[in-house]
């Protein structure tokens, strides 16, 4: 059951670095994060890695394993054959701090720039009333554990550094969709979605949905519906015409 696995881990920082080879013991049922921890405890005490829950709930341990963005704690060693070299690198879209740890402040800045939740008033008796069917769409998006793997894989910023200025990324476009579908929210974010957060940059190629560890249908349920809502607001000639002749206000 126990075997020696061949690991190749990126070590270094912003100044430079490279892939380094290690041989580490693996026991039955272990995940990549266990192996990284064993490496830390036995061979590389200063190997930098983020983690918290080790249960796929906090979204801290994001990295790339054999070139694919994944959570270290949800990737089982059993997914690889015993003689396969497992390559582990930090996320390649964000600046590296050290080893597997990257500077994810891009994400926090985008989060802060989105117009916040703006609720309607409570009912007279002090309650908010919402039906289950009305909260479910936004609830799916609120499953997000902010691992930023979708942000990492999205080619809009992964392959084009300068797009970071104008593009919020799938996680935060989904946040706009979440608020737009929130039964209590009172703000129209469709225009800013397109103009300030770069929804039009997304070409719906679905890599975000492919890597999401929470299985959120980011593209189908958030991005495309948001694009359709933006069309209602910005591109639909009928709406536009209607607004021009003043028969129909912006919906």
């Amino acid at each position: 059951m126990t075997y020696q696995a061949k690991l190749r881990v990126w070590r270094g920082d912003a100044e430079g670095g490279g892939l380094r080879d290690y041989t580490v013991e693996v026991n039955e049922g272990e995940v990549v994060l266990d192996i990284i921890h064993r490496l830390q405890a036995t061979q590389a005490g200063d190997l930098a890695v983020r983690w918290n829950c080790k249960a796929g709930k906090c979204g801290s341990c994001s990295a790339e394993i054999n070139g694919r963005p994944r959570l270290l704690c949800l990737t089982r060693m059993g997914d690889f054959s015993e003689d396969e070299v497992v390559t582990i690198t930090p996320m390649r879209t964000f600046p590296v701090i050290r080893d597997l740890v990257t500077d994810v402040s891009y994400n926090y800045e985008k989060a802060a720039s989105i117009p916040g939740f703006t609720p309607v008033a409570r009912d007279a008796d002090g309650e908010h009333r919402m039906q289950q069917v009305d909260v479910e769409r936004s609830q799916e998006f609120r499953k997000c554990i902010e691992c930023f793997l979708c942000q990492d894989v999205c080619h809009v910023v992964r392959d084009h550094e300068d797009n970071k200025k104008v593009y919020a990324g799938p996680r935060f476009l989904m946040r706009i969709a979440e608020l737009d579908m929130h039964p209590l929210d009172n703000l129209d974010r469709r225009k800013v979605a397109q103009e300030n957060f770069g929804l039009g940059m997304c070409n719906i190629t679905k890599c975000c949905s492919e890597v999401c560890p929470e299985g959120i249908h980011i593209t189908d349920n958030a991005l495309i519906p948001l694009k359709e809502r933006v069309v209602d607001r910005k591109y639909d000639p009928l709406t536009w015409l209607g607004a021009k002749i003043g028969r129909r206000p912006h919906p």
Binding site: D13, Q40, N52, K54, A55, S60, D103, M130, R142, L179
Partner: protein
């Protein structure tokens, strides 16, 4: 030699911790007009609160209109075996519903009742269905909502910074000192008010549902600053953690599995919980399988199945079965829902458990039983605070959340922690802001000497060569606590543990780590270790002292609760690194509340 510069910041209120308690405290302090900063070890939104599953307990009465704060108060006190600070339990029960409601103003989306209100679910020890929830990810909803609120308000957050020392002058807070994990640079926040919201201590144990953050920092920081800890002997072991594969040993399996009909069996296939019904709960617990099974459909005419006894009872029973040689192959017992519910039902009601086992253990819980065993989950003990203001025994220091003690007595009910965070987080934030406003005229001063000393202490392990490996010492401590200060305790083993902890304490004076200051986990662990050792010592000492069994503290040599101990709290304090214990009478509950316990069940 690295440069001597220390990054300096000035605030009215500094909140250490960005879990539910810390975030709620910061929101309140900010709203009261205080310049507020939040400091946390991880990234924002990753604190332990994110892992909570079941729900937030609050007697909103959305499902059972007869529910009210008095019932909740009573359940909480009974769950804590009457050792709770009555005033905390009262404030908690009274204020929780409003705290939950205001989350909705900040964007939270709880599951709904048919009337469109927040839905509430059943949980162990709560008389009525009262846990506001979102599927099995309530903690995520809570932390995300508060996080988004904090960001919207523009409160400063210092992520990935660890506080290593609280700074005091003349027994009053003047600030907090720490380092940036990312760069290893030092940083000081000068402020008259500091709120501790650092969570628990579970990482001192080997089998635990807690993360690396739970190194008891807040407990130790408070103790060293001159504050006191209460109830440290009470550590909650959740009865159902995963036991296999080893890699995930300790990972939590939610109580809802049993709530949904799951039963515990030993290797002989017997539902053993019927053999472990204590006198105290006989009247309300079914004594045969037929009645227990009928309960799920008919609560009124049947008594609860024994699998749903409080956590401490179930954890002890599992422990006994394994000790008697009737355990599962990997040293647990079987939790079986496969033979009791249809696969469709299981997948619908317990989606994340289904996935957890599928992904991490390759077990299909709709076909096979799970192997489960107790896991260290929560510490009831914590900083001794004034219930109304959350103030610790040092001027300007406040504590809220898991790091504060008293609220849960000897055993916490499921769901009562998240509500605790909100109620006392808010109270701590308000009183910290008020105190800071009073101190406006005399801003805190931190001396260069104090900074230089804090720096020196933190850098020591990096400068030493060829000393002890922090990972090895951590592993030894975890084994010690697990084996000797676990669910079942005896005087001999506790004494052994104390000796061991003393020896480790001596060894950590000689820690050394490889590498440099930039994001170096070895160094980070080296700085967390003294905290874990301090809290471990408190737990073991208090556990040795308390010669009875109650809630989260079970002594094999004193198996029964006693009235004398039921009237006493144990208080830890420290001077010059040595922990000492004092006995303190329980605060007296006013008569109007005491009468609540004379009613029949």
């Amino acid at each position: 030699m690295a440069d001597q510069a220390v990054e300096k910041h000035f605030y009215d209120v500094v909140v250490v911790g960005a879990g539910g308690a810390g975030l709620r405290a910061a929101i309140e302090a900010h709203e009261q007009g205080a310049r507020t900063a939040i400091v946390c070890k991880s990234l924002l939104g990753k604190a332990h609160t994110v892992m909570a599953e079941g729900g937030i307990a609050a007697s909103m009465g959305n499902v059972y209109a007869e529910d009210n704060w008095r019932v909740h108060f009573r359940d909480t006190m009974r769950g804590g075996k009457m050792l709770n600070h009555w005033r905390m339990a009262q404030l908690h029960a009274q204020e929780a519903p409003d705290r939950v409601r205001e989350l909705e103003d900040w964007g939270a989306l709880f599951d709904r009742t048919a009337a469109g209100l927040i839905s509430q679910r059943d949980f162990g020890g709560h008389r009525f269905a009262r846990l506001a929830h979102v599927g099995d990810r309530t903690g995520l909803e809570l932390i995300r909502t508060l996080q988004q609120r904090v960001v919207q308000l523009g409160i400063d957050v210092f992520m990935e910074c660890t506080v290593t020392k609280l700074l005091t002058t003349d027994d009053a807070m003047v600030g907090a000192f720490g380092y940036r994990r990312e760069s290893g640079e030092f940083i000081v926040w000068q402020a008259p008010s500091v709120i501790l919201a650092t969570g628990g201590i579970g990482k001192a144990f080997k089998v635990t549902s807690n993360s690396w953050e739970y190194s008891g920092d807040g407990h130790a920081l408070a103790l060293r600053a001159g504050a006191t800890l209460v109830n440290m002997e009470f550590v909650q072991f959740h009865p159902t953690g995963m036991v296999w594969p080893l890699s995930v040993k300790g990972l939590l399996i939610t109580e809802s599995v049993r709530g949904e009909g799951g039963v515990l069996k030993n290797s002989e296939g017997k539902r053993f919980m019927f053999d472990y019904i204590p006198e105290f709960f006989k009247a309300e617990t079914a004594d045969n399988e037929e009645e227990a099974d009928r309960w799920y459909d008919d609560h009124t005419n049947n008594r609860r199945p024994p699998e749903l006894l409080p956590r401490d009872e179930v954890a002890r029973a599992i422990n006994s079965e394994v000790k008697a040689g009737r355990g599962s192959p990997h040293g647990g017992v079987f939790l079986d829902i496969a033979s009791r519910r249809t696969p469709e039902d299981i997948k619908k009601r317990l989606p994340s458990m289904y996935h957890q086992f599928k992904e991490l253990a390759e077990v299909d819980i709709t076909k096979e039983p799970m192997e489960v065993g107790p896991t260290c989950h929560y510490v009831m003990g914590g900083v001794e605070v004034d219930p109304d203001t959350a103030a610790a025994k040092i001027r300007g220091l406040y504590a809220a959340g898991e790091v504060a003690g008293g609220m849960h007595g000897s055993n916490r009910l499921g769901g009562n922690s998240l509500s605790d965070l909100l109620v006392f987080g808010r109270r701590a934030g308000a009183s910290a802001a008020l105190y800071a406003a009073e101190k406006k005229a005399t801003p805190p001063e931190v001396t260069d000497d104090a900074l230089a000393q804090a720096r020196q202490e933190a850098l020591a392990p990096l400068e030493r060569q060829g000393g002890e490996n922090p990972y090895a010492i951590h592993a030894e401590l975890q084994n010690t606590m697990n084996d000797l200060v676990g669910i079942i305790r005896t005087a001999g083993e506790l004494q052994q543990a104390l000796d061991k902890v003393a020896a480790l304490k001596a060894r950590i004076a000689n820690l050394s780590v490889e590498g440099k200051r930039r994001y170096n986990p070895g160094w980070h662990l080296a700085l967390d270790l003294p905290n874990m050792l301090t809290v471990s010592e408190c737990v073991a000492k208090a556990a040795l002292e308390r010669q009875e069994s109650r809630g989260g503290h079970t002594r094999d040599d004193f198996p029964k609760p006693t009235p004398e101990w039921g009237a006493l709290n144990l208080i830890c304090s420290s001077s010059d690194g040595a922990v000492s214990l004092t006995r303190q009478p329980l605060p007296q509950m006013p008569d109007e509340l005491a009468t609540l316990f004379q009613e029949t069940t």
